[in-house]
Subunit: 405 residues, 2 copies
Amino acid sequence: MLTKSSTELVRQQNSALVLASLRRHGPLAHTDISQHTGLASATVSAITADLERAEVLERREQQAAASRGRPRVIFGQRREAGYLIAVRISSDMVQYSLADYGGTLLDRFEEPRNHADVSTGPFAASFVAALERLVERSQIRRDDVLVVSISSKGLVDPASARLVWSPVFGAQQVDFAALLQPAWRAKILLSNETLLVAHAMASRMEKARVNDLHAVAALSLGHSIGLGIARFDHMGELSVTAPNFGHMLNSADGKLCRCGAQGCIEASAGFYGILRTAFEVPPDTIPAKFVPLAEMDKIALRARQGHRMSEYAFRQAGLALGQGLSRMVSLYETMPIAITGPGTRFFDLMQRGVEEGLAQSQQVRLFGAPPISIVPEEATLALEGHLARALAEMDHDIIAAKAAE
Amino acid sequence: MLTKSSTELVRQQNSALVLASLRRHGPLAHTDISQHTGLASATVSAITADLERAEVLERREQQAAASRGRPRVIFGQRREAGYLIAVRISSDMVQYSLADYGGTLLDRFEEPRNHADVSTGPFAASFVAALERLVERSQIRRDDVLVVSISSKGLVDPASARLVWSPVFGAQQVDFAALLQPAWRAKILLSNETLLVAHAMASRMEKARVNDLHAVAALSLGHSIGLGIARFDHMGELSVTAPNFGHMLNSADGKLCRCGAQGCIEASAGFYGILRTAFEVPPDTIPAKFVPLAEMDKIALRARQGHRMSEYAFRQAGLALGQGLSRMVSLYETMPIAITGPGTRFFDLMQRGVEEGLAQSQQVRLFGAPPISIVPEEATLALEGHLARALAEMDHDIIAAKAAE
DNA sequence: ACTTTTTTCTCGACAGTCGAGAAAATAAAT
DNA sequence: ATTTATTTTCTCGACTGTCGAGAAAAAAGT
């Protein structure tokens, strides 16, 4: 069902356009905004005046009058217009970051997590305390935090901001919105971490002016396997999703996954799956809760030295990934794939398996294998995704609020 | 990249809204249009006057003055505003239909196809001739045909209207746009047939006011396996795709598919796959080009009488379908699935396999199995989809043309 | 003939975009 | 020091669109 349009919505859309172009290109002058957005000069004047009045934009001093003529007036986001907190929850630590409306990082700290402790109660308490600490240290009023963006591995219900299933807490759901509900007026966003990576990759490619790009996928390799898909819809808007890739059925081979099912991709390609195969543990053994990276490095070393079973384990992991990706491109479309996460350092051992798995579908035989790139800095990308998503949300909310009155 | 908005676009969007509501609810009076679209009465007046001037809408006589007060003026699409031709290409025949802008069927005929003949040359000739015959019989000017909507099983490139891979022509591509290019000014649409079924199912559910429906999938069972996914995006617009489901990797079991790969879903669940298993033919045997439905009925009869291998063949087909669907819902989301096609009559034999396959993923264990309904009349649905898609396209084009001048 | 009722049509107010040209502000030239 | 050239921002009027309110139209009831 389409919705009706009105002149007010036009202004909203065009305001969003101005803010978005400022996000992409940094502070800009009137003329540049007009150029980038395609809006008439008069329109840009009206919109910037509006946003200035709302204390969202501010005029920046320009460095030197480069050319002659009337000096440009540079507009930029007013940094103090709002703040965001990004929280990355991983199995061994939680990282808290504070950034302002301009997207500059103000503060950050990490808290170690005890992987043995899977109860949500203590976690919730330390979570709330950490947020409190963050605003206090930076002398920011709690109500100026407009967005709290949280990410975790696992399955997320984006609508309700609830963690449906995570490697950290299992099926114990955590309702983050409820945790912060009365005290914080910030909007709570909860995303799968690899979704954010995909978002960041899409933003990067957009900035790099990669044209005729419809979609990008991000694949995260680690203890668990995550997939994020970012696609530009027919309106040119980006929509990202994090399908349940790691626990998609790979093959009914009886390999027990920590989710309780058998034959998930993760049961073959997650760290614990690789370890199990390498050590010839029966495939229905209950998976290890956590595999230290050093342990994986040892297996990789042996594989590189020619140890058959270790080699085979990585090869099987690659095969499962390749088959899963071949299914993904069959069900979506052929798109570039960026592989991130700690597992990338073993990719040489998996590559042939991946290629073999990919080749097993008509889609790949017809359109070729998707281009695969390795992007190890997962943490950087995830934070980049947090910022991109949260700032876009803030822009959107600010404009909507301005329209409401 | 967002695009700029303007007052003219507002009118375009709202005009589209009016036409869409007329499509959904049939001819309507001024008041009803205002009600359904949410537009102000004055706006509806302006838009209908516009469309009347463009000879797109016409006033209909109302039957009896039901209530007192000023009689209503009923607006409806002017049937003669344009025509569309729908062409359904299947392995054994080609069906040509002609309909007017109001969506009423004017003419239809079928031409048998020789499945042995896979050359595209004779087909192209008879295709063009049939279209010619259709407009001639109905006394319609060729240039009044605004859309030719073609469907086939197989893989389609929606952008270029080219058949990339089809069970009928294999990898021989047919460029329909080129066939009709100089003589016909109509826009050529090419869709996968199951995509149209999914579109029709989505339209039906929309009409039946099924709320909070995000998506629906259609699965077509027959000699080949097709899947269509219809989803409502965040703007409420419907976007349908036909992924390469039938030739997605099911399991590396070596079953040869007619696409040349091994282990496709179709190699287990297509008619030829079922036949091969039932007759205990080696799985790497080159598949039969065409399996008559009567042959399948015989196998089904034996299966129902307890013949082990026939039973097993259907069970395996169901398993492959269930596993494929479990992967589909893992990569998209849990959504209702409508099963169509000649294969539905054997669904009782496959059902347990489907359920078993579906259960093998975390997605299903967390959110339950997707609701499955059987809708045998595939041909009706496909034509319904053709009309829905072609008429929407015509509405869109008419409005765009009016805006251009 | 008059009233009631229902629906369509019209008018003025308001919001937004756009193009053109005025105004501003600076560097270079005289 | 003043003038000129240049570049950018700002402002004005025209145009397109939506909306609410009330006028006008057209029938049935009294």
